[in-house]
């Protein structure tokens, strides 16, 4: 029974089922929009989880990569005449490239040094988006032209629900593949004991970099989707608060659990929507949630639930 639940592909199937069945259960466009946002943020968090939950490296600046993807699909068509789908690809590759270049020096750091270095990286990226108004529209942001694929303009919640949903299924499938592969074992080994991994022949720096680049690409694609869906991008998409939201989603759901990433994203997207009354209290809720979860449920929701279920079944 436990082995069944431990299968990394279970979450792929579950996600596919959710994507297929939700439109039948959720009639209104408003709820489908929320689901679309959950899919988009889940995509970013699944990627971040590969870095934080599996490889064990913390990143407090991941919104930087999210923002690169978000702005790529805005600047590409607007200032460079590049079609949106190509800009999306470029954004993902660009984020991967930046992660590759910054990653080598940054990932040599540990613990809170790594945390602050990634924080600084994210903030610098956000600052560039905020200051270079000629390209990015500055603090007010810029409009994002809609995605145009072979004459068909992609817009509206129904289209983006499916794009984001299918992408998430693909994203979880890739994550599951990584987890079940030698690379996944290597990442988990690095997380548990770097020095042991080293003496077993693992080039630790290389593998941390793989996780970093992969998570950056996931974030960039998610950022591009959000931009295209909303039709607008502002520097807050690359900002500190967005980075912290991603980390909270990953930790809340449960680091090391792909399912947890989706749960965490769902909670943090749905809750503010449900509590619209508490608009002003958004920060207070976020802050409280971060504290309470880390104090009482340090492993996250999904592992905590799994623990309870395991103790019930002999």
């Amino acid at each position: 029974m436990r082995r069944f639940f431990a299968n990394p592909y279970l979450v792929v199937v579950a996600t596919a089922l959710a994507v297929l069945l939700l439109p039948l259960l959720l009639e209104s466009s408003f709820y489908l929009r929320i689901a679309t946002l959950v899919f988009i943020f889940s995509l970013a968090v699944v990627g971040l989880n590969l870095l934080m939950g599996f490889a064990g490296q913390v990143s407090l600046g991941h919104a930087g990569f999210f923002g690169i993807g978000a702005y790529a699909v805005a600047i590409g068509p607007t200032s460079l005449g590049v079609p949106s789908w190509l800009a999306l690809l470029a954004g993902a590759l660009g984020a991967g490239l930046i992660a590759f270049v910054i990653g080598r020096p940054i990932l040599r750091l540990r613990g809170h040094y790594l945390a602050v270095a990634t924080l600084g990286m994210g903030l610098l990226i956000a600052m560039v988006f905020n200051n270079e108004a000629a390209w990015t529209g500055g603090p007010d942001g810029m409009l994002v032209p809609q995605l145009d694929v072979a004459g068909w303009t992609v817009h509206g919640t129904h289209a983006w629900y499916w794009i984001a949903g299918v992408s998430l299924v693909i994203g979880t499938w890739i994550a599951a593949n990584v987890i079940a592969s030698p690379t996944g074992r290597t990442l988990r080994a690095i997380h548990d004991s770097e020095v042991a991994a080293r003496v077993l022949g693992v080039d630790v720096a290389h593998y941390k970099l793989i996780a970093f680049v992969l998570s950056a690409i996931y974030a960039a694609v998610a950022g591009s989707y959000l931009s295209l869906y909303d039709g607008l991008v502002t520097p807050t998409e690359a900002g500190f608060l967005r980075s912290i939201e991603f980390v909270t989603m990953a930790v809340l759901g449960g680091l090391g659990s792909v399912f947890g990433s989706i749960v965490g994203a769902a909670v943090l997207v749905v809750l503010p929507q449900v509590l619209t009354v508490f608009q002003d209290y958004e920060h207070i809720m976020l802050g409280l949630m971060m504290i309470v979860v880390m104090v009482f449920l340090p492993t996250g929701i999904v592992p905590a639930l799994a623990g309870v279920l395991q103790r019930r079944t002999p």
């Binding site: 079940a180 030698p182 690379t183 988990r188 548990d192 080293r198 003496v199």
Partner: protein, 262 residues
């Protein structure tokens, strides 16, 4: 044909000399022990040989090639593996997975194939799993393969580290206190295991405090005290060496022993 040569190794930490002028050579299939009182520098020596600390003086040679200061993963690729005094087990992985990670050097590591779950990955996983199961069988952990490493008893963890290190197919295996904290039965098992390993042609270098184990299975013993070599030879030679007795038991004991021996 020497497989591991350590030549006048010296290292200091912030002015404190941890090792000075330490040299020895190990042949394939030999069981070579390094002993000495606490603080003698035994684990530091292992850390230097296995690439964790670069020495300030001296050379380490593997199969004749200079590998001084090489990174641990490069040394592993060249056939040097080790275990740790403070058990660096992958506690959140199963015993089997621990051994599987040890097969890293012998796996096909194409990341793109891993991302897309190409058929080669399934084959690779099966191969790695089979080899890992074999190794667990060798160290007597076959029934515990699926258990989380964190839930295994201490003696089993010591054997697991050995199995994992063996998975790399090393030429030289450094064992850092493999019997530490083990009861006499467990120590016997480790003893037999080490002899089996050496019989396959692997050079085993052993740091140990358990004198019975050391004297029984080692071909040669190298004694360190305060970072320096004070004796090297067979068990009998070392046992009777005055300097060794003084290092362990103090001058008073040395006089007593000399007196007892007439």
């Amino acid at each position: 044909m020497t497989v591991l040569a350590v030549d006048r190794i010296g290292i200091s930490f912030g002015g404190v000399v941890a090792l000075a002028d330490v040299s020895f050579a190990v042949e394939p299939g030999e069981i070579f022990a390094i002993i000495g009182p606490n603080g003698a520098g035994k684990t530091t020596l292992f850390n230097v040989i296995s690439g964790l600390y670069p020495p300030q003086q001296g050379e380490v040679r593997l199969d004749g090639a200079d590998v001084t200061g090489f990174a641990p993963h490069t040394l592993a690729r060249r056939g040097l593996s080790r275990t740790f005094q403070n058990l660096q087990i992958f506690f959140r992985m199963s015993a089997l997975e621990n051994a599987m990670v040890g097969r890293h050097l012998h796996e096909r590591r194409n990341v793109v194939a891993h991302l897309l779950a190409l058929p080669s990955v399934l084959r690779q996983n099966a191969e790695t799993r089979a080899k890992a199961e074999e190794l667990l069988g060798l160290v007597g952990l076959a029934e515990l393969a699926g258990r989380a490493a964190g839930s295994l008893p201490y003696g089993a963890l010591r054997r697991l580290e050995i199995a994992r290190a063996l998975a790399t197919e090393p030429k030289v295996l450094l064992l850092d206190e493999p019997a530490a904290g083990c009861n006499p039965v467990e120590t016997e098992e480790i003893d037999a295991l080490i002899q089996t390993i050496a019989a396959t042609g692997i050079a085993v270098v052993l740091v140990e405090h358990d004198m019975k184990l050391v004297m029984k299975i080692s071909k040669r013993i190298h004694v360190l005290d305060q970072g320096r070599t004070i004796a090297e030879g067979t068990a009998d030679i070392v046992r009777g060496n005055a300097g060794v007795i003084t290092a362990y038991l103090g001058r008073h004991a040395q006089r007593e022993t000399a007196h007892a021996q007439g």
